[in-house]
Every structure is written in structure tokens, then in C-alpha cells.
Amino acid sequence: MTMPTEREITDAATRIRALREGLEAVILGQSDLIRMVLTGLLAGGHVLLEGLPGLGKTELAKTLAALSGLGWKRVQFTPDLLPSDITGTQVLVDGQDGRRALVFRPGPIFAQLVLADEINRASPKTQSALLEAMQERTVTALDTTHRLPAPFFVLATQNPVELDGTYPLPEAQLDRFAIRCQVGGVDDDTLARIVLAQPGATAGPLAPVADAPAILDLMALTKRIVLPEAVGRYLARVVQATRPEHPACPPTVRTGLRWGASPRAALSLASCCRAAALIAGRPAVGFDDVKALAAPVLAHRLVTTYEAGLSGRTSRDLVAEVLATVPELQS
């Protein structure tokens, strides 16, 4: 795979900048969140947005779908939602020849951008319906496997405070998300701009600045971003240091973590770093990309111990300790 040329990077950066600026024009004061969502999209992963209601998570998904030109579906997850409500099911239809037949009717998962709103309100059985789709990009109904459209991007949201009647996502499900973003509030000026600029609190129809092929091109270009050997080794050391059984794991992390990051997490981190480099207009990944994305990519995959919970240390804090411990360069 050849190193992308400067022109390719420049063109891609221009398109990404248009997409980002369009998002920032609608979702005010959330530039970091927007960059993370775009990073997950270009990396071919899925993004889990975690935040209180009313912070614009759903609006972000809708705006992204509108600007990117991707076909999108929204699934509001509720406790009585069934897997077939997501994946689709076979229904009995009358054929043109008068004969009846079972025909597969795709569910809302068959979209390029799926907004899984409040995903933790669905039962684990229903949540598991997303596993194959998010990892394999396929859906198996009865004996038939259906391929999902490309690109396939799941943007899920969950509320971290209203936990009654919710089902926390299992580790396997969390591992499917490339990035988990904490959606925070906005500052005073931004809130004033929101109130003044959008009295109806909803965005009007947006003209797309890209389309599915363009997104696919960007994703293909992301894969050509060079991950230098030194950066790759550093990334691997960081991921390994999150495993309590690994010798390089810092003592504080060893006592704070039960399970570390998986190789899939390392692959996700590498892909996200490539996407971040592309968004920044660079042909290669740098050490700073790894540092910036380690917490969003790795933190939700780590299982902390009871002691860490008692001491108030979150998985993000432990990832920060790993980054502070692992040197970038080897002597």
C-alpha cells in the first residue's frame, strides 16, 4: 500500500473540513465531539455517545446523516424491543403468481447510518442483535445472511444517569464500539449562540456535502495512512500496559483493572489514529494521535476493579496513568 500523496490528503482534508464545518454550524460548541464522531466514521468503527439528555446527541446523528448523504435509520431502544425489530424478519407476502411466500423484510439496521438511541434501554437479547451487524457488517435471519450497506456506521447514545430499567451494555457489545465519547455541556457563549441562532431548537434541512462513495473513498484513504513502526510499537505497548497480567502494566493499573484491552481494541486504536491523522491532513500517524485517542478508544473496554471504584478512579484515569508510564521511544 502506497503512501498517500499530498494532493490526496489535501483533497480529503478539504472534504472532511466541509463536513466538520457543517456539523459545527449545527452542533455548536462540540468541536471535539464532532471530531471524534468523524474519526469513528472514517475509521470504519462505531461510536457510542454518552451524556445527559438534551446535549444534542440525536441532533448530531441526524445532522451527520444529512451532511454525509448517508441513508440513515433511527431505532429508539426500549425494553420491549425485539431483535427482529432491528434486524428484520420474514413476512408472508402474496406473490405475483398468487402464491404466498416468506420474504425477508429488512429492519432499520439496514441503513448506512444507524442511530441507536438510548441503546442501554433494550434488553441484552436485543442488544446482542447488533453484535454481528457491527462487527461483520452482516445480518443473519434464519438461514440467510444479509450484507449490510456500506458504509455501515452505528451511532449509539446512552444516558449515564437514568439507570432504572436499563441494561448496561455487556463488554462484548462495548468492544464493538470504536470510540465512546462523553458528551459534555457547552459554555455560556455557546449556549447564548444556540438560543439566539436556533429559536426552534431544530435544524432546518441541510444540503449534503458528501455522499456514500465519497465517504467510502475517505475510509479507503484512511487505511492508506502510514502507521510508522515506532508509533505502532508505542501503540502496542500502551494497549499491553492496560492488561493487568502483563509485566509492563503499572502497579496502580494492575490493582485498578480486572481486564485490559483486547487486540481488537489495538486495531480500533490504530484505525482511529489513522483517521485522526487524515482529518489533520497528515499522511502518517504520530505519537500525539495515540495519546489523544487512547482514552476514548480504550477506556470503555477496560473493566475496573472494586478497589478502583472505591478510590474514585475511572478507566479514563487508568488510561492516563498508562500513557504517563509508557515511554514513547525505546532506548
Binding site: 503512501m3 500523496t5 499530498e6 494532493r7 502510514v226 510508522p228 513502526e229 515506532a230 508509533v231 510499537r233 491523522a277 489533520a280 497528515r282 499522511p283 502518517a284 500517524v285 504520530g286 505519537f287 500525539d288 494521535d289 514513547e328 521511544l329 525505546q330
Partner: protein, 468 residues
């Protein structure tokens, strides 16, 4: 060579040099520190031969590891990563460095050219040289120290000077003593010279006793000589009794101070006349043997009557010969003059040896004290029986009786005024006595005239008392 490769090569050289510097500094710390310790040991043992070898070896030892450090190289990806960080390449330089120079995209090379040209090279780290510099300084200081001074001889015992003076005095006074007595005194002086320095007070007392013994011998010899001279003067009167006294005193001189009795300047005629006179005198065998040993009474000399004129010439010659004896020692001078005057005013036989009486000579140990005489037969004084001390004893065993004085209480009371009267005169002698330094102040206060009057004499019990 393109710019990226040249920068990579320069960075690699600098890192290898810095690595050599750091490793050399660490090695120099160990080698110089070890060398300094070794040098310290050598200095303590007094050896100076291996100093140069240790210094040179310690300074050159780190050079052994330098080739190995220089041969160690960074991995290419790590080197490129360092260059990328220096140039703020954000991975671009790493990506380019991983490609062969011909395959590197020109556009990205052009973009990286400016950062590579304006590269800010890492500064050399000299902080690691502080400790080795300190170790080297210690090593050089230890090497520059002068060689150790030869061991100082052990401090001489403070009484050795007095012992040497006593030995010189003994050598000078050899004619004044009997041969056996002189040898015994010399042996005692030698034993004192070999005493341990820790025996301070006991040694001082032993030296004091030795000096008093020598002084007594000198006084005795001077007394005998004065007696002979006085007897010769009286013999000039021509009386037989005086001539007999002269013979008796000559015999006593020959017995006590055989060196003085040889009289080599006596002319042969006078010597023959003296021998003839002595042969006719009523002397016992010991006296005759002593005179014969002194050459004054050759064997076979027959007694002959002596002409009075010849006796006068004999007396004058004898006086002249005695006064100019070859090794007079202390027989001339003030002591002889005083003894001669004392003996001339009295009967020669009544001349007493100084120091043999109460309160005369030696250290005054306070009112009513008894004289501590050495090597002398017990004598009887007006105060009672004086016992003799043992011979020179450097350190008598604790509780050893060194003197006893038996007397009646009334005799002490009768002599107390006279003793007190001689107190002041004795004090001067006591101050000059060789008292151990730490006791001089106490002795001085005791004998100072301004000091309060001595306490009333507490009478000892009627039985024997012990004088410590």
C-alpha cells in the same frame, strides 16, 4: 545523500557519542571511586609504589567500554521517531524514513525539508559528568598527597632526662664509689631507663631515691676526703695520735672511695714514707687491704719510725695530692670546702655524713617526719629507730611498708620545735626535689611560707607508726 538521511546519520552519531559519554562517565565514576578507595588504603599502609599505577589505571579503565558503546546503534524506527519529534513531523518524517530514498514521495519530502533544515539538535548532556569529576578530583587529591611522614618515635618517659643525668653523674663519680656499689647504681639507672612510661609517680620516686643514693655517696666520699685532709693537717703537728687518725681516715677513704685514695700525684719518696708510716699503724686487715688496693700500702712494706719533719712534708704533700686528685669529682668546690671547714673545726672522727640526721637532706614530708634513707643500716636517732628502705623499687606493692619509725611520744614533743625550725630551710630543698609534675603544685602550696600554719601534730599511737 538526501537531507533526511544526512540528518538521521548526524542524529545517530550524536546519540552514539552521548551514549559513550554517559557510559564513560558512569564507568569513570566507578573506576575513579574504586581507585580513590584503593589509593586511600595504600596511603594508610604507607605504600607509595603503586600510586601512579592506580591513578593511570583508574583514569584509563573506562576507555575499555567506549568501543562497545560506540558500536551500539539505535533501531532505525526509533532513530526516525527521534528525528520526527525534533522536527515536529507528527509522523511524516517517520513514514518517509521507513521508505527507501527513491520511493519517498517528493511532495512530502519537500514539505519536510524546512523542518529538517531548521532542526534544533538536542543539546549535549553534561550533567552526568559531575559525579565522575568529583571522583576524579578525590583520586587526584589522594594521589597528590605527600608521602606519609616516618613514624614518630614514642614519647620518652618524662623521667628519662633525670635518669640520663643520674647516669652521667654516676660516670663522673665513679672514683667516689666502691666498684660493686657503682655497678649496682648503674644497673638501677638502666632499669629505670627501661621502665614503662605509665609508671609516672613510682618512677619519679625511684629516680629520686637513686639521686639521693648518689648524693649520699658523693657526700660520704667528700666527707672522707675532708677527714683525710683535716687529719693530714693535724698530723703535721707530729703527734702519733694524729698520725694514727690520718691512717684511719686514709683507710676509710680507701674503703669508701677507692678511686680518690689512689693519690697518683704523690711523689715516690713521700709515698714510701706514707707507706712506712701506715705499716706501723694499728690497722685491721680490711683497712690494710683497702690501703693496699689503693696503692698506699704496698705488700711487704715494713714499719719504720717517721721523722716529725718528714711527717710535716708528708702532710703537705698529702694535702696537695688529695686536693689535686685526678678525678676529684665533687671532692673540690663548695661541698669539699664546707666539709673541710666543718671537719677542721671539730675532731675529724666526729664528722658526720650529711643527710644522716633528722630533717637533713632529701624531701621534707612535713613536721616530725623521719628521714627516708636508702640502702643503709637501721640507725638510731633522737626520735627513735629508723628503719631502712628497700633498694630502688620503682613501684612497691600496695601496702608495702617502706619505712618505720619507732619512738616514744615524749621524744617527738621534745624535738618538735627544732623540727619546725628547720622546716623553712628544708622547703627549698623540697621544691627542688624531682617531684612528679602533677604533684608540684600541691608540694609548692604545702611549703609556701604564706600558707597557713601546719595543723597541729597529731601524735601517733605509742606503738610503731607507718610512714607511707
Amino acid at each position: 545523500m538526501d537531507l533526511l538521511n544526512s540528518r538521521l546519520q548526524r542524529l545517530e552519531y550524536q546519540r552514539r557519542a552521548q551514549r559513550c559519554l554517559d557510559a564513560g562517565a558512569r564507568a569513570l565514576t566507578w573506576s575513579a571511586g574504586s581507585g580513590a578507595l584503593l589509593l586511600l588504603g595504600l596511603r594508610l599502609t604507607g605504600s607509595t609504589e603503586a600510586v601512579a599505577v592506580v591513578v593511570i589505571g583508574s583514569l584509563l579503565a573506562p576507555a575499555v567500554i567506549l568501543p562497545r558503546c560506540w558500536a551500539r546503534r539505535d533501531r532505525p524506527d526509533q532513530l526516525a521517531a527521534r528525528l520526527d519529534r525534533l522536527a515536529a513531523g507528527d509522523g511524516t518524517i517517520m513514514a518517509l524514513a521507513a521508505l527507501p530514498p527513491a520511493d519517498r514521495p517528493l511532495d512530502w519530502q519537500a514539505r519536510c525539508e524546512a523542518p529538517l533544515r531548521n532542526l534544533r539538535w538536542p543539546t549535549w548532556s553534561w550533567a552526568g559528568l559531575r559525579i565522575p569529576a568529583l571522583a576524579v578530583a578525590c583520586l587526584l587529591v589522594l594521589a597528590a598527597l605527600p608521602p606519609p611522614a616516618p613514624p614518630t618515635p614514642p614519647a620518652q618517659a618524662p623521667w628519662l632526662g633525670a635518669v640520663e643525668a643520674a647516669k652521667e653523674r654516676l660516670a663522673e663519680d665513679e672514683p667516689l664509689f666502691k666498684a660493686a656499689e657503682h655497678q649496682e647504681l648503674v644497673a638501677q639507672a638502666d632499669r629505670l631507663a627501661g621502665l614503662d612510661a605509665s609508671l609516672g609517680q613510682a618512677a619519679w620516686e625511684a629516680v629520686e631515691r637513686l639521686e639521693r643514693t648518689i648524693g649520699d655517696g658523693e657526700a660520704r666520699a667528700v666527707e672522707r676526703l675532708a677527714q683525710v685532709m683535716a687529719a693530714s693537717d693535724q698530723a703535721a703537728d707530729g703527734t702519733t695520735a694524729s698520725l694514727a687518725d690520718l691512717g684511719t681516715h686514709l683507710a676509710a677513704l680507701a674503703q669508701d672511695a677507692p678511686g680518690l685514695a689512689k693519690l697518683p700525684q704523690l711523689d715516690p719518696a713521700t709515698a714510701a714514707a706514707l707507706a712506712a708510716a701506715l705499716a706501723g699503724m694499728p690497722l685491721d686487715a680490711a683497712q690494710r687491704a683497702a690501703l693496699a688496693a689503693a696503692g698506699l700500702l704496698p705488700a711487704g712494706t715494713k714499719a719504720q719510725p717517721v721523722d716529725p719533719a718528714a711527717i710535716r712534708r708528708l702532710a703537705e704533700s698529702l694535702r696537695s695530692a688529695v686536693g689535686s686528685c685526678p678525678k676529684p669529682g665533687r671532692c673540690s668546690g663548695e661541698a669539699l670546702a664546707a666539709a673541710l671547714a666543718r671537719c677542721s673545726s671539730t675532731k675529724a672522727g666526729l664528722c658526720a655524713i650529711p643527710g644522716s640526721g633528722l630533717g637533713k637532706g632529701g624531701v621534707n614530708r612535713g613536721p616530725g617526719h623521719g628521714t627516708l634513707a636508702l640502702d643503709r643500716e637501721p640507725t638510731t636517732s633522737p626520735l627513735g629507730q629508723e628503719a631502712s628502705l628497700s633498694a630502688v623499687a620503682p613501684e612497691p606493692e600496695p601496702g608495702t611498708t617502706i619505712a618505720t619509725l619507732s619512738h616514744a611520744p615524749e621524744s617527738l614533743a621534745a624535738h618538735a620545735p627544732a623540727t619546725t625550725a628547720t622546716f623553712a630551710a628544708q622547703a627549698a630543698d623540697a621544691r627542688r626535689a624531682p617531684v612528679a609534675p602533677r604533684h608540684r603544685a600541691a608540694v609548692g602550696r604545702y611549703f609556701t611560707p604564706a600558707a597557713p600554719a601546719p595543723a597541729p601534730i597529731s601524735l601517733p599511737p605509742p606503738t610503731d607508726s607507718v610512714i607511707p
